[in-house]
C-alpha cells in the first residue's frame, strides 16, 4: 500500500487538541505523521487548502436495514450515504430481519461491510432475543464477534427486572446498553408530540413524560447496577436534565441527540408532513433549546442521526399510519455546523460530538487522527452551500424533512483506512 499526503488543510482533531494548518501523512492505511510542511514524498498528494481535515465522523445510531429490509436500504447504499456525509464509522441497530441476536447475522454485516461497504460498520446486538423483551441475547459471543453495544432500539425494554439484568450482564463483557426510553402505556397510540400542534391537527399526542418516565427508570437502574447505560436520541428537556444530574452523581450514563431534535420542532408536522414523523417525535421549542444546552455543556456525549430509511410507499400515506423515522447520514454534518454558526457550540466540540466522543461511548478505536490510528478521514469544505435534494441522496430512501434546505458545509472527500471512498 502506498502513502498519501494531505497538504495545507486545517486539521481539527479534538481528541488530541489539534486545530492548526498542518500536513498529514498516511502510510499503509494509518496516520503516520502530522506536522508543518511535511517534505515527505508520497505516492498521492491531496491539496486540502481551504478545507478542514477531521477524523472520519462516527454515527452511533443507524438503521442499515440489511439483512431483510433491503428495499429501504442495504449495507452498500447505507455506507455510501455515510461516506457522502463524511461518516466513516457507523453503529447499526439490530432491528433487521433476522434480528442481530446471533453471531451469524453479526458476522454477515461486518463481512459485507468490509467487502462491499464504504464505511466501518459496528453492529449493535439486541438486548433480548428477537427483540421480544423476554430472554437476553448471547451478549458474550456477540461482543466477541464484533458487536459494540446492545439495544432493543425501536422498542423499550418493558420489564425493569430484565433491564437490570441486561445492564449487569452486558457490563460483564464491557458493553454498554443503549436504551430506547419510552413508556408505551403513556404513548398509547400517539403519533406526534403532544401539544398545541397535535391538538390543532387532531393527531394523537405522545407526551414528553412517556420518554422521561422511562429515562428516569433507566438512569436509576444504571445507578443501582453500576452498568453503562447510554440513552438513545434524548429529545426532552427533562431527559437532558436527568442525565446532567446523574452524571454529577457519577452514574455511568451517556446519551446522544439527533440533529432533527436540535433543529426542528413539532411545527414541522403541519400539513401532515410524514417526513417529520419519527420516534421520539419532534418536540417543543423548550425541548430543542434544552437539547442544545445539553450539547453545549457536555451533558450530551454524541450527535447521532437515528438514520431510518423508509420506502416512499411507507411515507406517502395518511400520517397516522406512516412509518417513523428519517434518513440523516448526509445532513448530520451541516446541521451540526449550523449550531457552530449559531454560537451554540464551538467547532472543536462539534467535531468531537461526531467523532471521538461517540467512539469513546462505544469503546472503538476510531474518531481520532492520532499517530498510528486507522486513517479514517473527512475532508470538509466548510463554506460550500448546497441544497438538500432528497432524490439525490445516496441513501436508497429519501425520507428527509430537510428537502429544499440550503445547508452550509459538506464532506468533499472521505477516506477509509487511507483509501478514498467518496469524492464530491
Amino acid at each position: 500500500m502506498g502513502s498519501t499526503l494531505i497538504k495545507n488543510g486545517r486539521i481539527i482533531d479534538p481528541a488530541n487538541n489539534i486545530d492548526a494548518t498542518l500536513d498529514l501523512l498516511i502510510e499503509n492505511g494509518r496516520i503516520s505523521k502530522i506536522g508543518k510542511s511535511l517534505a515527505t514524498q508520497a505516492s498521492e498528494v491531496i491539496d486540502a487548502s481551504g478545507l478542514w481535515v477531521t477524523p472520519g465522523l462516527v454515527d452511533m445510531h443507524v438503521h442499515l436495514r440489511d439483512p431483510g429490509l433491503e428495499y429501504k436500504e442495504d449495507i452498500i447504499s447505507g455506507t455510501r450515504s455515510a461516506a457522502a456525509g463524511g461518516v466513516t464509522s457507523i453503529a447499526c441497530m439490530p432491528n433487521t430481519r433476522p434480528i442481530i441476536d446471533n453471531l451469524a447475522i453479526c458476522r454477515y454485516i461486518i463481512n459485507k461491510a468490509q467487502e462491499q461497504g464504504s464505511a466501518n460498520v459496528f453492529p449493535i446486538g439486541s438486548i433480548t432475543q428477537g427483540l421480544k423483551g423476554e430472554i437476553l441475547s448471547e451478549m458474550g459471543e456477540l461482543k466477541a464477534g464484533g458487536c459494540v453495544a446492545f439495544s432493543d432500539d425501536g422498542l423499550p425494554v418493558v420489564s425493569s427486572e430484565l433491564m437490570r439484568r441486561a445492564l449487569e450482564y452486558a457490563d460483564t463483557f464491557d458493553a454498554p446498553i443503549i436504551s430506547h426510553a419510552e413508556d408505551l402505556s403513556l404513548v398509547a397510540g400517539g403519533v406526534m408530540n403532544d401539544g398545541l400542534v397535535a391538538t390543532e391537527l387532531g393527531l394523537k399526542g405522545i407526551p414528553w413524560v412517556a420518554e422521561d418516565a422511562m429515562t428516569a427508570r433507566d438512569i436509576m437502574l444504571a445507578e443501582y447496577t453500576g452498568g453503562h447505560m447510554h440513552m438513545a436520541h434524548v429529545s426532552t428537556r427533562g431527559c437532558v436534565e436527568m442525565v446532567r444530574q446523574a452524571k454529577r452523581r457519577g452514574v455511568r450514563v451517556t446519551c446522544e441527540a439527533a440533529p432533527h431534535h436540535f433543529t426542528l420542532t413539532d411545527e414541522a408536522v403541519r400539513g401532515y408532513n410524514t417526513n417529520a414523523k419519527m420516534n421520539p417525535p419532534l418536540r417543543s421549542q423548550a425541548d430543542v433549546d434544552a437539547v442544545r444546552a445539553g450539547l453545549a455543556d457536555g451533558t450530551i456525549d454524541a450527535i447521532a442521526t437515528d438514520h431510518a430509511p423508509h420506502h416512499i410507499d411507507e411515507k406517502n400515506v395518511e400520517f397516522a399510519i406512516a412509518m417513523n423515522g428519517i434518513v440523516g447520514l448526509e445532513t448530520m454534518l451541516p446541521l451540526t455546523l449550523k449550531l457552530v454558526e449559531e454560537g451554540v457550540i464551538d467547532l472543536n466540540r462539534a467535531i468531537a460530538l461526531m467523532s471521538c466522543r461517540p467512539a469513546a461511548v462505544l469503546g472503538i478505536d476510531r474518531g481520532t487522527l492520532s499517530q498510528g490510528a486507522v486513517a479514517d478521514i473527512a475532508l470538509i469544505d466548510p463554506n460550500l452551500v448546497w441544497e438538500v435534494v432528497p432524490e439525490k441522496l445516496l441513501s436508497k430512501s429519501n425520507n428527509t424533512p430537510f428537502g429544499g434546505w440550503k445547508l452550509k458545509g459538506v464532506a468533499v472527500r472521505t477516506l477509509l483506512g487511507g483509501k478514498t471512498v467518496f469524492e464530491r
Binding site: 391538538t199 390543532e200 400515506v317 397516522a320
Partner: protein, 311 residues
C-alpha cells in the same frame, strides 16, 4: 362574492366573509327541501362519490340527499365494500375512483389529515365529511346555520360546548367557525378529555359544567364514545352523566331562551337527558334538517358555484 375554493377541507381555509357566504347560499337552498318536488337541476350531469371509510348514517345520508336534490348522480362507497379490506392504499382507491371522472369526492376517514392528503393528490374536488379528530366543516356550518336561524345572529353569543373535546372533530371545526363569526366559545369536560393548548384555538375552558352553562345562549353537547376512547378517560357513564350530562336542572343555568344542540348520535341519559333532548329548547332535529341545505351549498360551491349556468 366569488367562491375561490375547489375543496372544502376544513373551516380553517375560510374567512368570516366566506363562511357567511356559504350560510347565505344554504339559505337559498333551504326552501327546496320543503317543496313538493324536491329537486332542482343545478348539478345535473355532475357525479359525486361519497367515500365513507367510517360508519355514518346521518352525514352520509345528508350528503347523498343534498347531491340528489341538486340532480347530481351520487354514488356511495362504504368501508366494508371498499378495497381497503384488500389492502389498497387510500391514494390508489382515490385514483381509481378519479379515473371514472367524478366531479366531487365527499370523504369521511378515520385518519386526521386524510382529506388534505387526498386533495393534494387528485384532480377533482374533495369535500371533508369528517377526518379523524381533525375537522368536520359541514357539521360546524350546519351548526352555525341553526344558531343563526334561532338567534338571528352569531356574533356576541356565548356558546358552551361540553364533552370529549380531545377526540372531537366537531369541536375543532366549531371553535374555529364560531370564533370567525364572532361568538364566544366556552368548553368544558373532564380533564382527561381536554387536549393541551386547546384554549389557544380560541376558546375558554370552564372548570365545571355549571360555569360553562352559566348564561349560555347555545349549549352544544358532544357524544361520548366509549368504544373510541377506551376505558381510561372516565370511570363510568354513570359518573360522566352526573358531572357532565345536561339535564333539566342544570340547563336552567343557561339563558332562558338558550338552545340545545347535539351533533348526534345521542346517548340518551348519558350526555343529555331525554327530557332535554326532546324538550322545547332542543334544536337537534333542526340541525339535521339544515344539514341538507348546508351540504347542498357546499356541493354547489365546490362544483363551481356561480360559474355554472342554471337552466
Amino acid at each position: 362574492m366569488k367562491f375561490q375554493h375547489r375543496h372544502v377541507l376544513g373551516i380553517k381555509q375560510f374567512n368570516a366573509e366566506e363562511l357567511n357566504f356559504i350560510l347565505d347560499t344554504a339559505e337559498s337552498f333551504k326552501e327546496i327541501n320543503t317543496r313538493d318536488i324536491k329537486k332542482v337541476p343545478t348539478l345535473r350531469g355532475k357525479t359525486i362519490v361519497n367515500l365513507f371509510f367510517e360508519a355514518s348514517t346521518r352525514t352520509r345520508t345528508s350528503f347523498e340527499i343534498a347531491g340528489k336534490r341538486l340532480s347530481a348522480d351520487t354514488v356511495n362507497i362504504g368501508a366494508s365494500s371498499s378495497s381497503v379490506v384488500k389492502g389498497e392504499t387510500l391514494e390508489d382507491t382515490a385514483r381509481n375512483i378519479e379515473a371514472m371522472h367524478p366531479d366531487i369526492i365527499v370523504m369521511r376517514h378515520s385518519a386526521s389529515g386524510s382529506c388534505d392528503y387526498l386533495a393534494a393528490r387528485i384532480g377533482c374536488s374533495v369535500v371533508n365529511a369528517g377526518d379523524g379528530t381533525h375537522e368536520h366543516p359541514s357539521q360546524a356550518l350546519l351548526d352555525a346555520f341553526t344558531i343563526r336561524q334561532h338567534k338571528g345572529k352569531i356574533a356576541g353569543l356565548k356558546v358552551a360546548i361540553i364533552g370529549d373535546i380531545t377526540h372531537s372533530r366537531v369541536v375543532r371545526s366549531n371553535i374555529d367557525c364560531l370564533n370567525k363569526l364572532g361568538a364566544e366559545v366556552v368548553i368544558s369536560g373532564p380533564k382527561t378529555m381536554l387536549p393541551p393548548g386547546i384554549e389557544r384555538l380560541g376558546c375558554r375552558v370552564a372548570p365545571t359544567l355549571a360555569e360553562a352553562l352559566k348564561d349560555a345562549d347555545v349549549v352544544m353537547m358532544l357524544r361520548i364514545q366509549l368504544e373510541r376512547q377506551g376505558k381510561s378517560l372516565i370511570p363510568s357513564l354513570r359518573e360522566y352523566s352526573r358531572y357532565f350530562g345536561l339535564n333539566e336542572t342544570n340547563l336552567k343555568l343557561a339563558k332562558t331562551d338558550a338552545i340545545v344542540m347535539h351533533p348526534g348520535p345521542m346517548n340518551r341519559g348519558v350526555e343529555i337527558s331525554t327530557v332535554v333532548a326532546d324538550g322545547p329548547q332542543s334544536v337537534i332535529l333542526d340541525q339535521v334538517e339544515n344539514g341538507v341545505a348546508v351540504r347542498m351549498a357546499l356541493l354547489y360551491l365546490a362544483a363551481g358555484g356561480e360559474k355554472m349556468t342554471e337552466d
